[in-house]
């Protein structure tokens, strides 16, 4: 079921030049079988992962966590504490790996950068007038440049959903291209905000649009709207990155974010990654979880596996 089996690699490079070409291509993508996608996602969620496989999955999931705090009430002290936790999620157990990245607002980037310097933990910053994206392009680009200058090596941008939903694909495309340019060497994660896109077909189109425009990662949600990451949406996005690599040879990462709170959820996602796109994506460079409370549950489950007794939230930090 390859969406673009007929597209040759050279066909895609010129798509961004005209609105018509983009629209023709995106609307030419095969429709998503909604019932099929949901059923497939539910079925993959029933796998039982136990003992050593579970221990491996938990460690991998910890390495994939983008430890996130995106609150108006964030303070330098709070983000520094979070960064310290990112380096050593379980201070009682030195064998516990560090997380993939810390994700904060641009104003908090300098405080986190001090703590993370040289540690191997990435520093992600949201930008482009997160979470709504409703700001003039110059403002969004300035936001992005400021975050990169302050030390972020990953930028989480939001797409212009207003333009996308009214069919102005070129505008969305150009904004992503411009943001990518403003990022310089930093990785660009493109937030589709799937909760606002209404259909799986739109999710598939937005995924392709983001990848065509040069996004290094596609991310489901901001976590600021009621519907965040779901398994079927992530399945559609995984299929898109798989088909995109088949078509162009470029590999793009996926980051579900928002609403993933338990180890069980995280393992369901890992199963789906393995079954949909294969082990190439089972790496923090290609798959991340945007989450805050997930980490404590992973640590509790990890403690259960190492000590044999169920742990409780009293023994882990409140973030």
């Amino acid at each position: 079921m390859t969406a673009t089996a007929t597209s040759a690699r050279s066909d895609l490079s010129g798509l961004g030049r005209s609105e018509t070409a983009l629209r023709t291509f995106l609307h030419g993508l095969p429709g998503v079988d909604q019932v099929g996608a949901e059923q497939r996602a539910a079925q993959l969620g029933t796998r039982s992962i136990k003992t050593t496989a579970k221990a491996q999955a938990i460690d991998l999931a910890i390495r994939m966590v983008d430890l996130t705090t995106l609150e108006g009430a964030d303070t330098p002290g709070k983000v520094r504490a979070l960064a310290a936790k990112a380096l050593r999620p379980d201070p009682a157990d030195p064998s516990c790996p560090h997380v993939g990245a810390v994700c904060v607002y641009p104003a908090m980037v300098p405080h986190v950068a001090e703590v993370l310097a040289g540690s191997g933990v990435h520093l992600a910053s949201v930008a482009t007038a997160f979470p709504s994206g409703q700001a003039p392009l110059e403002v969004k680009l300035a936001d992005t440049r400021a975050a990169v200058a302050a030390g972020a090596d990953e930028i989480d941008m939001v797409i212009n959903r207003g333009a996308f939903l009214s069919g102005r694909f070129k505008e969305v495309y150009d904004e992503i291209v411009a943001t990518k340019e403003a990022c310089g060497d930093a990785h660009l994660k493109v937030i589709l905000e799937t909760g606002e896109l209404a259909t799986y077909d739109n999710v598939r189109r937005a995924s392709w649009l983001a990848m065509l425009a040069g996004g290094d990662f596609i991310k489901t949600s901001t976590g600021k709207v009621p519907v965040a990451a779901t398994l079927p949406v992530t399945l559609v996005m995984l299929e898109a990155v798989r088909d995109f690599r088949d078509a162009t040879g470029r590999q793009v990462g996926v980051k579900p974010a928002g609403g993933i709170k338990t180890t069980k959820d995280a393992i369901k996602y890992l199963v789906m990654v393995n079954e949909t796109v294969g082990a190439d994506w089972l790496d923090p460079d290609w798959f991340r979880f945007g989450a805050s409370s997930l980490l404590n549950d992973l640590l509790m489950q990890r403690t259960k596996l190492t000590t044999g007794v169920y742990s409780g939230p009293d023994y882990f930090t409140l973030d």
Binding site: G308, V309, Y310, S311, G312, P313, D314, Y315
Partner: protein, 274 residues
């Protein structure tokens, strides 16, 4: 018309206000009824449900908790015949109902009896108030089936604790039927959770669980198991109630020790004016 086919009942667990089957899918036979055989994971799920219920239950007013416990007695009264049909003697059902009422009355009186103002040498008010300890794991006694169960659950929850009860393996029917009473008594889901099955399977998981604050070993009859559970409970300094002696008289006045054993004392100093 053909003769009516009786609807047979499956006795399931009681976790978070719902009646799930055991996660393990296992069951065992008691008095020719199928009863769920709880696993360690069910015990963990029950603790999660109990923990989630602590905030609301401990935060409810004592008056409100008393009303709800009294409501349990009312509901139990209506199901009297059902318990008698399960083999619980009628006078034991009556005693169990009376015990709910007795404990219900204590909800707003215990803080007065057990807390209060402390005399101090200084210009301060010094007040001690009892607070619930949190999640309590309970191993219920085998006999008497209903009165024993009520006598361990009611004193724990009346002060604002939530409980995970490992019912006696030999007496699960009365326990699950009591759960049906609790489920229809305005008691918030998760305040009482009941596991049926082997004590040797669920109790060690509860005793070792770091998110359980106290364990009541009343129904443990094997001394070596009691020791093992107490050792596990020491890991996070749980409060422990030792097993009841074999000749314990459950119909006697229970006193307030079962309630006070599961409380923490909060003492505050407050400066006096002038």
């Amino acid at each position: 018309m053909s003769e009516r086919v009786a609807v047979r009942k499956t006795y399931k667990l009681f976790i978070g206000g719902k009646f799930p089957r055991s996660e393990s899918g296992r069951s065992y036979l008691v008095q020719s009824a199928n009863v769920s055989l709880a696993s360690r994971k069910d015990a963990r799920d029950a603790v999660v449900a109990a923990r989630a219920a602590v905030k609301g239950w401990a935060g409810a007013t004592a008056y409100n908790r008393g009303q709800i416990l009294y409501r349990v007695a009312e509901m139990l009264e209506g199901r009297r015949e059902q318990f008698v049909a399960l083999g619980v003697p009628a006078d034991e059902v009556d005693a169990a109902i009376d015990r709910w009422v007795w404990y219900a009355g204590w909800s707003d009186k215990l803080p007065q009896v057990y807390g209060g103002a402390n005399p101090v040498a200084g210009p301060y008010f010094n007040l001690s108030a009892p607070e619930p300890t949190g999640v309590v794991a309970v191993v219920a006694p085998e006999q008497p089936a209903l009165l024993g169960l009520v006598s361990v659950i009611a004193p724990a929850i009346v002060t604002g604790n939530t409980v995970v009860v490992a019912a006696s393996p030999a007496q699960p029917l009365a326990a699950v039927t009591l759960a049906e009473v609790l489920a229809t008594s305005d008691l918030p889901g998760g305040v009482v959770n009941i596991l049926t099955g082997k004590i040797t399977e669920t109790a060690p998981a509860l005793a070792g669980h770091m998110d359980v604050n106290a364990i009541d070993l009343t129904g443990v009859t094997d001394p070596s198991l009691a020791t093992e559970l107490e050792v596990k409970a020491a890991e996070n300094l749980k409060r422990v109630l030792r097993p009841a002696p074999a000749d314990h008289d459950w119909s006697a006045d229970p006193g307030i020790t079962r309630m006070t054993a599961l409380l923490e004392t909060k003492t505050v100093w407050h400066p006096k004016g002038t």
